[in-house]
């Protein structure tokens, strides 16, 4: 799209953030332009062209804009700037560094540099002159918050290159010319540590993308134990408001076993982002002992920020994730909420007067969502190393109805479904993930099954399936009890129901605000599941159905005290011993 002369144009029409521009030359779909409004320059993106009219969505408020204002087209798509210094930054949806902005209020037309141009980075070459290289290959390494940040051959380059020269180990700024590469025709290209990439296109600098097979630990029991997500896997969390989507997402982003966590706050509450800003610099990363914020990147487009930038924010986040994946790192990307992104698409589609699909969403919604989810995944890089993007999106179904278009479209794209249940939330059974309706397709993958067998235990998968059966049978028993009455069913129905309650209270429910219970390592999960199943497998003698509930309540209380205690601590073992004797008394 690069041209010698910049195309310009004049504003011909304005409806909210949709502006129609009369252009004097070629324009490209999704090209970026700037609209002049007094001394401000408003960034916009072309979303439709009709004759000499380009329809652009403006990433800012159009208040005060007049017909006839000058527009300059930039000859490129919406791009992000990639280089060392992205970690622990807070960006808006267009990758402006929010901390660099002045004043309390956001100023229209203020764009800030995502990188620090002055900072000196400790640079260590990895490639040597004469090496043959292609896009995405590692040239050098700099230390970014103790993370080996790879400097790569720009993704935009095609073909093979020879490394002509590279600067020696030392400290340099990101703009320093660190290497020269030569293409097959002998043309030299100078490289710095910075490159740009258009957000709507996927970075494909890898060799292959196999099916994901490694478990990604999140510390959340009802995910890891019952419906695990894999490294490079995709999942989504739909739930009506008030069912704990955000608390769950924050728990995952705090605890998950990832090198880099990217949080895309997409059209959500500003105070939720502030919570991350406030808490993450204080919280320790259990794996490195450093602060959580050091491995975190936040893309904040809160619900009151301009709608068009909301759409861009998820792409910005995904592109940064792809950049870090190409360095061989494990990236976890969380987007809250993808429904707001879909609504942004709907608002524009509506202003463009397109024929609407279901619920007035654009017809291609499903395709857009699938395409986005497909950018996640586990990859083998060209040098044989591995990297991954695990993507978990939340969905806010309108009216809590899971048949609405965004949920339906996402269901087709994501492999794990963590449905939040209003009933569970109402009775404060958190996390409110429905144990029966939720699923992880990964449990059916033979490679995942083999991985679990090897890394957790040989009987793990069997135990998990058994726990699921007990939950299902418990639900059926409860329905029978509700229909026939407590004394209208055999006592075994009560026992069956209470065994499922036992799993519910001990394994599924987890206190996200308790220091110990909030995160449960796999070893502990394995131990607790085995312990719970021991009780579920035992046969007890009860004289009356009321004995069943009071017995299991005592058992559950004992287990809960164990959950609140440090694993294998003195207190933990004391509760366990008490539990064992309570159980022994009842055994047949």
């Amino acid at each position: 799209m690069a041209r010698e002369n910049k195309t310009t144009g004049k504003v011909a029409g304005i409806v909210a953030n949709l502006v129609i521009v009369e252009v004097d030359g070629p324009v490209g779909q999704n090209e970026i332009c700037f609209i002049t409004l007094k001394e401000e320059r408003l960034m916009a993106e072309v979303i439709k062209v009709v004759g000499k009219h380009a329809y652009v969505q403006v990433f800012e408020s159009t208040r005060g804009l007049k017909a006839g204002s000058l527009v300059e087209f930039q000859g490129h798509l919406l791009e992000v700037t990639l280089g060392p210094g992205i970690l622990s930054r807070n960006y808006d949806g267009l990758q402006n560094d929010l901390d660099k902005m002045e004043g309390v209020f956001l100023k229209r037309g203020e764009y800030t540099d995502p990188l620090n141009r002055e900072k000196l980075w400790p640079f260590k070459p990895l490639a040597k002159p004469g090496d043959t290289l292609a896009a995405g290959d590692w040239l050098a390494e700099v230390d970014e918050n103790d993370m080996p940040h790879k400097i790569m051959v720009p993704f935009k380059l095609t073909g093979r290159y020879t490394l002509k020269s590279i600067v020696p180990e030392g400290v340099y700024t990101v703009d320093h010319k660190i290497a020269v590469i030569t293409d097959s025709e002998g043309n030299d290209t100078e490289l710095t540590m910075v490159q740009k990439w258009p957000v709507k296109l996927a970075i494909r600098a890898y060799k292959e993308k196999p099916r994901p097979f490694k478990l990604l630990e999140t510390g959340v029991r009802c995910m890891d134990t019952l419906n695990p997500i894999t490294e490079g896997g995709t999942g989504f969390i739909p739930g009506p408001f008030g069912t704990g989507k955000t608390v769950l997402q924050h728990a995952i982003s705090k605890q998950a076993e990832a090198d880099i966590v990217i949080i895309a706050a997409c059209g959500e509450r500003a105070n939720e982002v502030v919570e991350v800003f406030t808490e993450f610099p204080e919280l320790d990363d259990p794996r490195t002992g450093k602060k959580l914020i050091e491995r975190t990147i936040i893309i904040a487009n809160t619900s009151n920020m301009p709608v068009a930038a909301r759409e861009a924010s998820v792409y910005t986040a995904m592109t940064i994730a792809e950049y870090y994946r190409a360095m061989g790192l494990k990236v976890l990307l969380m987007a809250d909420s993808t429904s707001r992104w879909a609504q942004a698409l709907r608002e524009m589609s509506n202003r463009l007067e397109e024929l609407p699909g279901p619920d007035a969403f654009p017809m291609d919604l499903s395709a857009i969502i699938s395409n986005f989810y497909s950018r996640a995944g586990f990859v083998y890089l060209n040098n044989g190393e591995t990297g991954s993007i695990t993507f978990i999106g939340t969905v806010s179904p309108a009216g809590g109805n899971l048949k609405e278009p965004v949920t339906e479209s996402t269901r087709k794209a994501a492999r794990c479904f963590y449905g939040l249940n209003q009933g569970r939330a109402d009775s404060k059974r958190y996390p409110a993930i429905d144990p029966i309706d939720s699923y992880s397709k990964y449990l059916e993958y033979p490679e995942v099954q083999a991985y679990l067998e090897k890394n957790v235990s040989e009987k793990w998968l069997g135990d998990v399936l058994k726990a699921k059966d007990i939950l299902l049978r418990g639900k059926e028993a409860m329905e029978q009890i509700n229909i026939l009455g407590d004394d209208g069913v055999p006592i075994t129905f009560h026992e069956r129901f209470w065994k499922s309650e036992l799993i519910d209270f001990v394994i599924l429910q987890q206190d996200a605000f308790d220091k110990i219970d909030s995160s449960s390592p796999m070893k502990r999960q394995q131990y607790m599941l085995a312990k719970v199943l021991e009780v579920a497998d035992a046969s007890f003698s009860f004289g009356h159905f009321e004995d069943v509930s009071s017995f299991f309540k005592t058992v559950i209380n004992q287990f809960k005290q164990m959950n609140y205690s440090e694993f294998k601590s003195e207190g933990f073992e004391r509760y366990e011993n008490e539990l064992d004797s309570i159980i022994k008394e009842r055994l047949n």
Partner: protein, 439 residues
Amino acid sequence: MESQAFQKVYTKLTNITKATVTLKADGVGYDEIATVHGRLAQVVKIMGNDITLQIFEGTEGIPTNAEVSFLGRPPQLKVSDELAGRFFNAFGEPIDGGPEIQGEVRDIGSPSVNPVRRKQPSNLIATGIAGIDLNNSLVSGQKIPFFADPDQPYNQVMAMVALRAKTDKIILGGMGLTNDDYLYFKNVFDNAGALDRIISFVNTTENPPVERLLVPDMALTAAEYFAVDKNESVLVLLTDMTLFADALSIVSNRMDQIPSKDSMPGSLYSDLARIYEKAVQFPSGGSITIIAVTTLSGGDITHAIPDNTGYITEGQLFLRRDSEIGKVIVDPFRSLSRLKQLVVGKQTREDHPQVMNSAIRLYADAANARTKLENGFDLTDYDERTLKFAREYSDRLLAIDVNVDTDTMLDISWELFGKYFNKAEVAIRENLVKKYWKN
């Protein structure tokens, strides 16, 4: 209306609908206001030199040769300390017979706060109502609506909360208030001797509905003046946001936009978020807290207005009439304050989080027992006890006429636990049980 030197008067309208007029004019800015036939209007669409204006009062009686002049600015409000104690209409003009306000002119609908410049809300707002303070604690900088059916006493509860909360200013944004409710607020604030810290922007049912669209922005511009310039804590009351959303749908309908769910405009979420997200805690100490009312039709929260609101606000409060005790209570199941975690057990007693959760769980067990009873099944001893507990819990804690401090609420809860249950049934962490259990 003020006039400016360069002002040109147009007299040829090309189109008139129920809410908008279109004319040819040059050099007009988007969102700019104008007067049409003496009525206030705002630019909503520009196509070449065709300008479409939304007339807030409606277009009844406007002729095609009406005089149109553009004011070259968005809607504005004059802000100063003189605002305190005054009543205004949706355009920010005094309606209490007092003098015009002298002060700095500000555009309404100003930009958002940079999220990194916000502070995490952390100050408890105590109301004395246990249904709120015990189960759904409010925090300054929070935004939370009452979801209520039109027949429920939401305006009364809101006025009570406003007066008990210790804030520097209270700003009332009334949209489609009946004249009776308007006078009710006026009287309550007057009787409490609090009038000097209250500012009201009121659109009553007697005023045209589209005017309402200006009320929240007017109220919040005033709120930002006190919170940012004066570092004050400001409580904004918005009632009723359902009527605000209805006005949005009228305008979008007149502009031929494709409606999405429940005939609401596709941008409803963004439109509501723009207002509610003005709730903020500033590092300098100033804060804006928003308590709103969203009336429901027949308790349906899946309708687009409450649904979108629920996704934006930090929780919601439900009122319900408990027929067993004959009082209105704050429903513990459906109410939620998302920010309560920031204060419960931190600014309140350590046992607060667990007591709150256990009491609600036991209350839920009572609801199950009631279902059993209604279906004609025998109740167990445990069921009987939960029912007795629920009744007393409802009467002594959930009812909106309760006015005690949080420690007392917790003590009452422990008393009820001890009265009706054993320790395993309550299932609270052992060290707390040891300290607080009452027999």
